[in-house]
């Protein structure tokens, strides 16, 4: 088990600083991608093509951050040879940065689709369903990054469970789109774009879930990828119990 405090307790101040720096960079990158997703959604829902173009243009920022973070992490691995929780932190940061970068790519895609959709007829009710799905995804991304900042494994597990809801919403959206296309084939082009947007949002949810998994790995040293969340929860509970018992014994 580690806590946020423990990052700053190395004998080497330089090492403290390096780990804090790279972790800070990852969270900044996360903040940037949150903003990108938000703007892409606004561009889409409000039919704002200028904003959509802006989102497309801004993606290079996230790519640049990913390269910088990877660079920093390889330097730490080579120079510090971190072990245990430090090693897990560096690994988790490398992996999370990849997922955040992919989220950025999806946001860019939504931005591009928003530009296209802005040039077509809008349905009478706007893009309510996408707005709803997007809201869920935005919250999940924010919470996933938050658990990374706080190194809160239990919260990470709860956030990971949200992915299930997003997948269900995405399925509902797909069904609705199929109905629209069957109702009037002239809708197909537009509705396909809407479906791609939904698909991108759903993918962003998957990446957020991955980040939650890295948080659990980072905190508990337990790799829960490709296991059910219920199994993961049991494993975390067992770890927590063992830690509590050890603490009691120490007292």
């Amino acid at each position: 088990m580690i806590d946020t405090q423990s990052l700053s307790q190395h004998i080497s101040h330089e090492f403290n600083k390096e780990l804090e720096d790279v972790r800070g960079k990852l969270l900044t990158m996360g903040g940037q991608v949150e903003q990108q997703i938000h703007q892409a959604l606004r561009a889409l829902v409000e039919g704002d093509s200028k904003l959509g173009e802006e989102v497309e243009r801004q993606d290079y920022l996230i790519n640049k951050m990913e390269v910088a973070i990877d660079d920093e992490c390889s330097r730490i691995l080579a120079r510090r040879q971190p072990a245990a929780s430090d090693l897990r932190l560096v690994i988790a940061i490398i992996k999370a940065s990849t997922d955040i970068e992919r989220m950025g790519d999806e946001a860019e895609k939504i931005g591009r689709l928003a530009v296209a959709l802005a040039g077509m007829d809008r349905p009478p009710h706007g893009y309510l369903e996408l707005d709803h799905l997007g809201g869920l995804v935005e919250t999940m991304v924010r919470n996933a990054l938050d658990t990374f900042a706080r190194l809160d494994a239990e919260a990470a597990l709860a956030v990971a469970r949200e992915d299930f809801r997003i997948n269900r919403e995405y399925e509902a959206l797909t069904r609705q789109c199929i109905t629209f296309m069957m109702e009037d084939p002239r809708n197909i082009r537009r509705v396909l774009d809407v479906m791609w947007c939904g698909r991108s949002l759903e993918r962003i949810g998957d990446h957020a879930k991955n980040i939650c998994e890295y948080v659990i790995y980072l905190v508990h040293g337990k790799d829960i990828r490709h296991t059910s969340l219920d199994d993961a929860e049991r494993a975390i509970r067992a770890k927590n119990r063992a830690a509590e018992q050890a603490a009691e014994q120490a007292e």
Partner: protein, 274 residues
Amino acid sequence: MNDIPAPQPAPATATGPATIEQPIKASVRHLSFYYDSYRAVTDVNLDIAERRITALIGASGCGKSTFLRCFNRMHDLYPGNRYEGSIILRPKGLDIVARNVDPIGIRMRIGMVFQKPNPFPKSIFDNVAYGLKVRGIRDRRLIEERVERALRQAFLWEETRDRLGDSAMTLSGGQQQRLCIARALAPEPELLLLDEPTSALDPVATANIEELLSELKREVTILIVTHNMQQAARVSDYTAFMHLGVLVEFGVTDQLFTTPREKQTEDYITGRYG
């Protein structure tokens, strides 16, 4: 000696039960060691896996070298030192630290290499042959065979085959250390103890020794004390972390260096103040 039971898993401690899926070469049970009244090692329970490398790590003064030296009864050289508990050497079931066991007999079966290379002021050949002669081997052919084998095992044969008569002092530091390993290997020990074997060597000589260790473990059980945690992580199969004379955690090296169970271990291997 025949009534000693089959190896039992080490008793569960605060660190959880030690799990070794390998035949066990030595079982340490409730071992404490005293320099007169000062207890330097406290109630250690540990199994040493056969033909594997077990590393002992810990800060200076944590008792790891003291613990290692119990294995060849080196502490008997000074009066007032005292062992409690047992170290059972498998498969024969001999208790290394039992009072009635002759330490000289133990040292005949267990080889040791120290921090600083300490070749005898003799020829390369005689250095390696020394242990054989002490053991009463007189057959020249046999001695030559065993010397060559030990030098080959220590990856020193190619470098020294044409100069076996030269003084061992003409070798470089890294070669001298490999010579000391060859000297320890020649009598075919059951257990090889290494006390910081590379801390006086440069990185290349260190890499050579580490490579040698990973080859040697096919044939010999190795117990190594090292200050260099990365070295323990690189070469060992099992790692034991000691602190203030107590075994804090013992586990498979991969696990101990990625997900240690104990906070003390975590603090030590990540370089935090504990």
